[in-house]
Structures are given as structure tokens and as C-alpha cells.
Symmetry: C2
């Protein structure tokens, strides 16, 4: 067994060579006098052949194999001609070891409802389509970090155990903490801003956040991976958007180069590398677009966009400018957190933006208010008690530069990227009000 | 203000040019007829000069500056000769904007006790020595990920909300979860093993873990960043050690190249790039070393090593082999988790290891038991009830390859690397039984 492992996708480079393959049994059949074992590894599925007049013990072993058993196979690579549509080469088996037998039949298949597949998520993830999601996620994060690294960002790991809520107190999980209460972070917002007061200048964090939201929908979860960026010495939220667009261009360039054909095959989606700058639409302009389209925003505060509104604005931009992305800017202050900076010429507007991708909101960003008196006043005006956020207000009293940033939900991003409409599909293990297993 | 920002370390490349600097006021003084402002940014401290017969308003602005205010300065770079020990160049000020004034004097200094500095962590982090810690952490993680990427590892984000404890139930934080209880993950162990059953083959995760340990020491925290690796298709724990040693060699190579001189200056530590393979010491041999040294292990179970024992084994290896690292292998099964695989020739020993670095344990690793019947028997023998871990045992029933991995505490690693003896110093925001703020 000292042969180096060969991946299925590399078999074509090894014709006539002896190889060791590691993978799962997709099925066993007989073609004339030959046993055919389909072996799947992370890179593809290979046909492993054993002639009927070959080794008897091996023939029995193959015959007795249960589907999805984990096996190590040794054999010789042989160019094959299966006719159009079926790729060679085959592997003529010399030996087989069942290193992880399946002790029972797999309880789900591709037709099983999502909830059952989530019960057996570790089996569901064996499907090549699902595997691809996590290969893409890995590429996405690596490309994000490459840009951060080139531009001198510092990696942050902010604590998820917090002394106080950072929102209104709703959607908050509490933890028993040595005789007191702690809370799970809903976002690293306060602590990434602390990094700006600490002189770290530009930071990023990829980590879990928690929302005790009781809604059970295809878009909600109680725990997800948040991608956070904060940067100092900016002039306005324009600098934040300028960073985000060149960063996403790089990220999608990497995804396109690495997984473009596989994504087209598995998800039917073309990965488009976006041009920069991304279109920007002022909120007032967004509402003009909706008025022209005859859409009235419902179920939202005055001045906000609803999901249909976001879709219509994105469609307008796609039609007029041929771009999948659009920054909607200058949100009214009532619908933004108290710490968003107000526009200098109109305190009713904020220096903020959302980024829509194919009509789905993937990012919220802003310049932050770094002047402690104004920040405290904005909190009070919103009814946020100053006592519990005193430690946060302190960050701005000892010399804090102007700064801003954004947060991006990693699974939301993957949903847009792959055209998947359910967050549970693109999450390794979904957490929701009714799901905390496996 | 449309000039591009220049960092202090790049001033020497800009002699006679006009630059924009962004940073914090370290102090203001007068040298003869010249005002001297020391400006600190993440890359160093520069002298900004303003002649007394210069602009009056600017002179008043400089005079009134409070230390640690955040400023943007524009000026001309001028080669200077300050005599030995002081580097040029200087910057002759043309303009200054106080973008984030300090509203009060900074309440701590280098002599403040650690606990006070942790109260004001955002100010403590402005010290160049502390800043360096997080630059090093960023480099460490980037180098780790570079190796993972080259070797085809998939990035994992496993849920931190768990349905059941994964240890004995001690040191566990519980969370109210929609009318039931959830628990915070003490490690991603079960879920990174799930990835092996999912066919992801090789995974890594860098994320938070939680331990409700009531001890208040310089080595304990209730939340820290764990670096986790799991890999399939291994023959034994030797394959895991072989990965870890080549990985750490690359990581320390990157740290040495990027931060070697700065770490020597700030921490008095030489970063040594380790040769491979790392020395391996069988646990039986470790106890012979201790017997020869006349050390009796105390406060630990039979067959284990205490902190002094780990130090003595490491010193022995350093003396005999000139290596900072040593793998101690084949731990007795009683002191290892139930899921560590037993040695084929001796069920009292496990296919496991710890990695000691300069005498400090930084890693625990093992081949895992992937045969479900043995795994269940080992759990039962340890008194672990099978019901709550049924979902975990299922991972191994449908074809799971042999696998193993390790966990590494990121802050422990930084402690060894920088020769720091307190985990609170190398953590962005420490969490302990008595500390959950800021």
C-alpha cells in the first residue's frame, strides 16, 4: 500500500501505470464476463474492471460490496473506448481493500425531501453537486484573503461571548456564564470597530454569528458565517464600496477560473466576472425606478426597499447597464443602525449602502460615526440606553480615525453565486429554530 | 486630501516628495525654534517638523494636540541626520487635520498592570509590540492556509451550536434554544470527522471554541481560536504527524521571513525554522527520560506527563537532537478520548500524539477509530452513554475511510512562538471566568 494515491481526474495521465485509488463504491454491475465497479472520489467517478476468469476471492469481494463502502483499489490504467459521451480510461483491478464498509443501505437518495437529506447530511454531502459547493466556498475564501493580504489587512478573531446585546435585544441567544448572563454575538460590529480605535487600520474576520430568529424559511438560520471588513482613514462610504467592488471582482475571477465549467454543469449558472466600478443607485433614484415600474413597497418602513423592490432595481440596472451588481446608497437614517454616519448635507440620510447581486441583498455597509458626542446622541435618539454601550462609546474618545466597513453573509453569497434559493443547501450544517442536529 | 496615503516605513522612498501620513500623535515637543510632532502608524513612528516662523494657525493646532489623537498630516519628506541610532527621514509639515481628537488623556501606560490594560485593550493594542502579535497571527494563518490550499484541503465552518455535549458534560456552556437547551462547541471534533464520512477527504477549520473552565490562570480562557485539521485515507497517526511537521515548517518559514527581525527586537526571540522530520518520542521512552532525570509525574493519571515532565522531555530532545519540537506518541488509552484508535498490537496504547514546542503542548492528534462497533464499545467502556452520540456513531456506518487529525490552539502557538507566558497577551479580547468585557 505504499503507492501514492491517484485522483480519478488524473487517471488520463497514468495510462498503463499502476495506481492506488481511494473512494466510495457507487455501484457494481456485470458487463458480459466482466465485473464493473464504479468508484467515486472527490474529483470524479472511475470504472474499475475485473474479468470473470480473474482471481476468485476478488470476484467474491466485489460481488459482496455494499454501495457507498469506502475502498482502496489498486489496478492498471487502460485507455478505453466506450463510444461517445463516456470518458475513459478504465482501471483493471489487481486488488481491493474495503477499509470502511457500509454496514447498511444508505437511507436517502437524490429524490428524498430536503429535511430528510439534512437528517443524513453527511451522506447528502457525498453528492458531487454538494461537494462542489464547499470547493467553491474554499476558493471564495482563499481569494478574499489573497486581496486582504495584498492590501495589508489584519485577521481578527473577535469574541463570540459578549457582555451585552449589540442590537435591540431581540433575536439574542443568552448563555449562563459563571453566575451571570452572556450573549452570543450577532455580529462582530463593535469589535471590528474597536480594531480601528486600536490602530489596526484594516481588518477582516470570517466567523460565526448567531441570531435567535424564530422564523423557519429558506432564507433564515440561527447561525451563519459572516465575512466582515472594516477600514480606517476613509473619506466616505465611497472608499468602502471601491474596496468591495475590486475585491469581489477578484473573488469571482478566481471562482470563474477554477470552477466555471463545473458550476455551469451542476447548477446551470454562468459565473460572470463583474466589471468595476459597480453601478451605484441613490435611494431616491431607486424609488423613482420603482414608481416608474408601478411598484409600491409594502411591509417596510417609509423609504426602505422590500424584496420585490430590490429585485426590480436590480432588473432595471441589469437592463440599462448590463451589470449583475448594484450598490443602493444613502439609506434613510430611520432604517439604519444608530452608528451609521449621517450625510453632511442631510441628517435624514446615512453614508451607507446595500449591495444587491442578482436582486438579492448580499452586503450592508457604511461609514461609521466616529465622533463620540454625535454617536451618543444618535444612540439616545434611537432609545438605545447608553450604560450598556459605554464600553463601545469609549472606543471613540481617545483618538479614533474615520472608518467604515461592511458585512457579507457567506451563505447568501453562495446562494447568489450558484442560483440556489435555499440557505440550507449551501450551509455545511444548517441551524434553525427546529433544527440543531446532527 | 486626494494624495495617496504613505506609510511611515516607506518615507525613505519619497525623499523630497509630498506625502500624506495617517496616524496617532505620540507626542509634541520643541527643539529650538522647531515644533516636533511624533506620528505613529502601523509601520513606525515619524518626526513631523514645523518651524516656529511657519503658519501661526498650524503652530497653535500642533501646540494644542492631545496625545493619541488621530491625525492626517501632509508634508515634504526631507533626509535628516540625527546622529547614530535615530533614523530619518523627517517630514516638514504643510498641513494637519485632527480627524479623531483624543477627548481625554489615555488612562493607561506601559507600566499599568495587565488587568487594567485589558480593561482598555483597544489602547493597549496600540503599542507596537502588541500590534506585532496580530501581524504575526495574520501571517501564521495565511501560511497555514497556503499549505492547505496546495494540498487540496476544504475549508469548513462547523456549527458552534450543538445538540449534545461532546465531552463528559463538564466545562460546557449551555444556551437557551427555542424551549430546549443547546451547547457551545468545545471543539469541532465530531463535525470535522463528519466531513470525512461526507467524502470531503481533507478539511481544515479556524474558529472559536468554548470551555466553561472556572480556573483563572495565565493559561486558561473560556473562548479561544482553534485550528483543526482532519484527513482521510491515512495508514496511521504517522501520516498526520508527517503533514503537521511539513505544515509547521512552512508556517515558521513565513514568520521568519516576514517578522524575524521585528520579533527579535520586540520579544527577544529567534524564530527558528524547524527541520523535518520532527523528533518522535514514544511515551514509554518519555518516561525513561523522566526516570533518568529523577522526575516523578504528579497530579496526573498513570502514564501521563505533567507540565514539568513535558518540559524535561523537550529539554532532553533539544540537548540531544537540537530541535525545538518533539512529538510524544502512543499515549495510554485511559488518558485519551474514547474515539482515539488503539494500537493494533496493544489495546492499552492509542495511535495518538501530542506535539510539544519548547516544552509547551501545542497540539493533540490521533488516528480516529472509524469502525463503528469498536467505537461504540470504546465509548461504553468509558461510560459515555450511546444515545446522545448516536448521530455521531452513524457517521461510521455507511462507509467511512480511516482518518485522523489534530487540533492546535492558535494562542498557545503564539505564546510558544513569541515566548509570552500569558494567553491574555496574545488574545485580541480575552474571555475568562472573571472577564467578559470589553
Amino acid at each position: 500500500m505504499s503507492l501514492e494515491r491517484v485522483l480519478v481526474r488524473s487517471l488520463a495521465d497514468r495510462v498503463d501505470g499502476t495506481v492506488r485509488l481511494c473512494g466510495w463504491v457507487e455501484g457494481v454491475s456485470e458487463e458480459g464476463d466482466t465485473q464493473v465497479l464504479l468508484l467515486r472520489d472527490p474529483t470524479g467517478t472511475a470504472r474499475l474492471l475485473h474479468p470473470a476468469d480473474g482471481d476468485e476471492a476478488l470476484a467474491r469481494e466485489i460481488k459482496g460490496l455494499r454501495r457507498e463502502s469506502a475502498v482502496v483499489a489498486i489496478g492498471t490504467v487502460r485507455l478505453a473506448d466506450h463510444g461517445p459521451g463516456i470518458a475513459g480510461p478504465d482501471v483493471v483491478l489487481a486488488g481491493l481493500e474495503v477499509v470502511g464498509p457500509a454496514h447498511a443501505e444508505v437511507p436517502i437518495d437524490d429524490a428524498s425531501p430536503l429535511d430528510e437529506r439534512l437528517d443524513w447530511r453527511f451522506l447528502d454531502l457525498r453528492r458531487p453537486r454538494n461537494r462542489l459547493i464547499f470547493d467553491v466556498q474554499t476558493t471564495v475564501e482563499a481569494a478574499m484573503r489573497a486581496v486582504w493580504r495584498e492590501e495589508g489587512f489584519v485577521e481578527l478573531h473577535s469574541p463570540k461571548l459578549r457582555p451585552t446585546p449589540n442590537k435591540s435585544g431581540s433575536e439574542l441567544f443568552s448563555v449562563g456564564y459563571f453566575g451571570r448572563k452572556a450573549y452570543l454575538a450577532q455580529s462582530p460590529q463593535f469589535y471590528k470597530q474597536m480594531a480601528m480605535a486600536s490602530g489596526l487600520d484594516r481588518v477582516f474576520e470570517i466567523g460565526p454569528v448567531f441570531r435567535a430568529n424564530p422564523l423557519v424559511t429558506s432564507r433564515h438560520d440561527t447561525e451563519f458565517t459572516s465575512v466582515d471588513v472594516e477600514m480606517s482613514w476613509i473619506e466616505s462610504h465611497d472608499d468602502v464600496m471601491a474596496f468591495e467592488e475590486r475585491w469581489l471582482q477578484r473573488v469571482l475571477g478566481a471562482v470563474h477560473a477554477t470552477h466555471g465549467p463545473a458550476i455551469a454543469r451542476q447548477f446551470g449558472v454562468d459565473v460572470v466576472v463583474p466589471g468595476t466600478p459597480f453601478p451605484r443607485v441613490h435611494m431616491a433614484e431607486a424609488h423613482e425606478i420603482l414608481a416608474t415600474a408601478g411598484h409600491r413597497v409594502t411591509g417596510k418602513k417609509e423609504g426602505d426597499l422590500d424584496a420585490t423592490g430590490e429585485r426590480l432595481v436590480a432588473e432595471h440596472v441589469a437592463r440599462e447597464l448590463g451589470h449583475e451588481f448594484v450598490f443602493v446608497t444613502d439609506y434613510p437614517e430611520e432604517i439604519r443602525p444608530f452608528y451609521h454616519m449621517r450625510a453632511a448635507d442631510d441628517p435624514a440620510r446615512t453614508r451607507s449602502f446595500d449591495l444587491l447581486w442578482k436582486g438579492l441583498e448580499v452586503t450592508t455597509g457604511a461609514q461609521r460615526e466616529h465622533r463620540p458626542d454625535r454617536l451618543a446622541a444618535q444612540a439616545q435618539a434611537r432609545g438605545v440606553p447608553l450604560g450598556p454601550i459605554g464600553y463601545y462609546l469609549d472606543f471613540f474618545r481617545y483618538g479614533c480615525p474615520p472608518h467604515g466597513g461592511f458585512g457579507l453573509g457567506l451563505t447568501r453569497f453562495l446562494m447568489s453565486l450558484l442560483g440556489v434559493d435555499d440557505v440550507r443547501v449551501v450551509t455545511y450544517l444548517h441551524r434553525g429554530p427546529r433544527r440543531i442536529t446532527p
